[in-house]
């Protein structure tokens, strides 16, 4: 499709601005001005709207297609969240207002949203307090690791390592590394969870933290989790919980009760806020009592008179991880989501997410290799190893699924499973949708046997066929040049 720049015609306008109503001299001298105007498109409002409406038709979203993308929890997002975020009292509120004298009273509603959400998330996870500042999951990870660093520094501990299982999301080792830690990877055992004996071998006084997802990226709950937490605490290390998979255990188990000291959540996964085509998300971080004093500036507090205020006087805080109070618009949608579902609703989320995943796993395991054949939680991982013998890769299966109108599972992750296909249906999908996906997967398994080329050439039914990613990386074309 043509770029918006290629639709540009000199003189066209999408917006008319008011005439200048003040008498003013030229405030900016010539030598401080740019020589050429930016080469932005010149298009009418109609053409602009039509351009992106057309582009939107080339996207799959949760609203248009089943999206069982493992570890991403692509559940349906209640529309009321979108509407509330547009209320003028929220959408046009200046973040510096509560920092002005008399400004606090004029932002009480927004501060209450942050405070209440913080309290709700603390109860859901069994933590003492959350910072709502981190702007995405990985940002939460970095914040959490910095909190751990601040804790050890205050104790005079010299710890340099973070232990992470080999099944972890790539963000875990990346976050630990950029916070200044050495990453120690621990292999998984035959049951698909971190090998306890291997873990014991690398656990020592130098370990600042153990960073885990539970259930892990294979969708498996680690039965040794309590033992791991206890052993880590014995050597003075802290336990970090990556909340990417919290959807599986809402109301069934809380990271805080297991012994985790730091938790980050992905509001755009578990708490029903849409992912926006890659963001914005939000990655609030919860801590136990002993880490509270290090939480970022500022925190919303409730005063004895019932009003809300921002607390800045926090001498041991790690400081500012974001300019203000987090991705407020996303936090607001999370708050709406928790209000809608309530206690029983959240428990049902976990039950239905786990039921849907196990149902699909059961129906598919005779057609695809299932490397860890045991009860899964919210997601499971199949391998296309059997199909690979016919020359069909996980990638080919993914592309063929597009023809059926399904977003494919996460593929080639976790790295420990050959030709991995990680499937997470979420709780919001109906049995009929799951059945249709299962049928498609079964048909594809048959095609892999009988006509593998059909898969290698997929997709067949879209406007576009497979794209040349190698050339894209070798000779990067990253912008329109006119």
């Amino acid at each position: 499709m043509k770029l918006i720049f290629e639709k540009s015609v000199a003189g066209r306008r999408g917006v008319r601005l008011p005439k200048c109503d003040v008498l003013a001299e030229l405030a900016v001298p010539e030598e401080l001005k740019r020589k050429q105007p930016p080469d932005l498109p010149e298009v009418s409002e109609l053409e602009t709207v039509r351009h992106w409406t057309e582009l939107s038709r080339h996207n799959f979203g949760v609203d248009t297609n089943f999206y069982p993308l493992g570890s991403c929890t692509m559940k349906y997002n209640p529309k009321i969240g979108e509407e509330v975020a547009k209320y003028q009292g929220f959408s046009s509120l200046h973040p510096l207002l509560p920092q002005l004298r008399q400004g606090g009273v004029l932002t009480q509603g927004a501060l209450q949203v942050i405070y209440e959400t913080e309290r709700l998330l603390s109860e859901i996870t069994g933590m003492a307090e959350f910072t709502m500042q981190p702007l995405a999951g990985a940002h939460g990870e970095l914040t959490g690791i910095m909190l751990i660093a601040a804790y050890h520094k205050s104790k005079g501990n010299r710890k340099t390592k973070v232990i992470i299982p080999d099944s972890a999301h790539g963000t875990n080792p990346a976050s630990a590394a950029i916070a200044g830690y050495e990453v120690v990877s621990v292999p998984s055992n035959n049951n698909g969870v971190m090998d306890f004996n291997e873990f014991e071998k690398v656990l020592n006084e130098e370990v600042a933290a153990v960073m885990l997802t539970c259930p892990n990226t294979l969708g498996l709950f680690n039965p040794d989790i309590k033992k791991i937490a206890d052993r880590t605490h014995q050597v003075g290390g802290l336990m970090y919980y990556d909340g990417a998979n919290l959807n599986a255990i809402l109301g069934k188990c809380r990271p805080g009760d297991i012994g985790f000291d730091v938790v980050h959540l992905n509001l755009h996964k578990t708490f029903g806020t849409p992912h926006g085509g890659g963001g914005p998300g939000a990655g609030p971080v919860g801590v136990k009592e002993h880490l509270k004093e290090f939480l970022p500036i500022s925190l919303v507090v409730k005063r004895p008179d019932g009003t809300y205020a921002l607390e800045y006087d926090r001498p041991k805080s790690i400081g500012y991880v974001a300019p203000f109070y987090g991705n407020f618009g996303v936090i607001l949608k999370c708050y709406v989501y928790i209000l809608l579902l309530g206690r029983e609703g959240l428990i049902r989320v976990a039950e239905n997410a786990v039921l849907n995943a196990n149902y699909m796993m059961e129906k598919l395991k005779s057609y695809y290799h299932l490397p860890y054949d045991r009860r899964c939680m919210h997601e499971f991982v199949l391998s296309a190893k059997r199909q690979k013998e016919k020359g069909v890769k996980a990638l080919d299966i993914a592309k063929r699924l597009l023809d059926f109108g399904f977003h494919p599972p996460t593929i080639y992750f976790p790295l420990i499973v050959e030709e991995a296909m990680m499937i997470e249906p979420t709780e919001t999908e109906s049995r009929e949708t799951l059945d249709k996906f299962i049928e498609a997967m079964i048909q594809i398994a048959g095609e892999a046997e009988q006509e593998p080329q059909r898969l290698k050439d997929a997709p067949h039914n879209l406007d576009i066929s497979r794209l040349d990613e190698v050339t894209a990386a070798r000779e990067p074309n990253l912008r329109w040049k006119g």
Partner: protein
Amino acid sequence: MPYISNTDEDRVRMLAELGLTSKEELFDDIPADLRPFSFNLPPGLSELEVRRFTQTLADKNATDLICFLGGGFYDHFVPAALETIISRSEFYTAYTPYQPEISQGTLQAMYEYQSAICTLTEMEAANASLYDGGTALYEAMMMAVRITKRRKVVVDEGVSPIYRKMLHCYTSNLDLEFIEVPVARDGRADRQAIKTQLDKNTSCLILQNPNFFGCVDDVTDLAKSAHKSGSLVILSTYPISLGILKTPGEMQVDIATGEGQSLGLGLSFGGPYLGFMTVRSKYIRQMPGRIVGETIDKNGQRGFVLTLQTREQHIRREKATSNICSNEALCALSAIVYLSLIGKEGLKEVAELCSAKADYTLKRLSEIPGVKARFPTPIFNEFTLELPKDAGDIIGQLIEKGIMAGFPLGCYYKNMEKCMLIAVTEKRTKEEIDLLAETLEAVL
């Protein structure tokens, strides 16, 4: 429950397929001693109740104050068509475009966004967004540290104090040397003081234009000095100002970053916002974040993909250029839609309106006895005003009269208790500006 499609009957059937009789059996892997010690949450509400309740919360916030508050976050006009486009759920309910064949909408929009940010800044390459202007600056700094393998960072105090606090926070566990250089008497970067700090250990010089005080500068000379010492120059910018101001590219900057909130995003109490980053081509492979590239499909048809992914955490893990995964894609979409609707001429007009109205406001306020511009330097749409009294008190009094007059600089700078920052966008009218002047004069 409306957000779970399956009925009790469905569940019974599905459990039967698994050979189970109770959903509790699904959770057998979680030991009994790890079950929740408590789960005290309120019962769920209907949509109507939630709507009513959240509306009462929204109504507790100010919606009718006249806004002269900026500090890097501005009350700009947003065309209605923008909301129409970004409300399409094909965009907002999609994930990161890992499967390009069914993500061409997002991918092409990101490519168009990258193109627009490049032409705006006159830089060579852009990524597909970072979280916000502050984290973009942090990422730029870390990028410079990696490229130069040097540990010293020189920061002009004209850079937003909020962003400087963020830089400190992120590096507190790293072995970096931070030098912050106060601005000169005219409010601009102190040439002499900065040049003495640029040496063979300096990884980068971090500047902002217009700076936090609203002063507009041409930092080409500083860029040249930094390059002589083998250091990189990072400039934090305000995208609307680039409708008229000299660009980072023209000033020979190596990495330009900024907060994209002004490009069609609401103030939304601090987020979601949009961090942008642009670099010279030679640094593309050191850039953090998603990058979209153009390519072709098997039939030679144009298409777009995520590219240069070997920089990223999902491939490189602890050796990645950054840990970023989710970015601010929908906000980047807002930015490209805004820049298209406003267009080439429109952006210049917006910038000129801002500049003219700020100039008028400054002159009008300077007529008040005891009130004057703090710095003699040219401004764009924001300026530092010196009052005869404590600025924080005066701002508080003006809020009570319905005007958010600006930001008190005493919060962040020593000896500036009587100074305030005032921002004027294209949305402010002459009547509102005159009202600000009259009200300020009355409370002084």
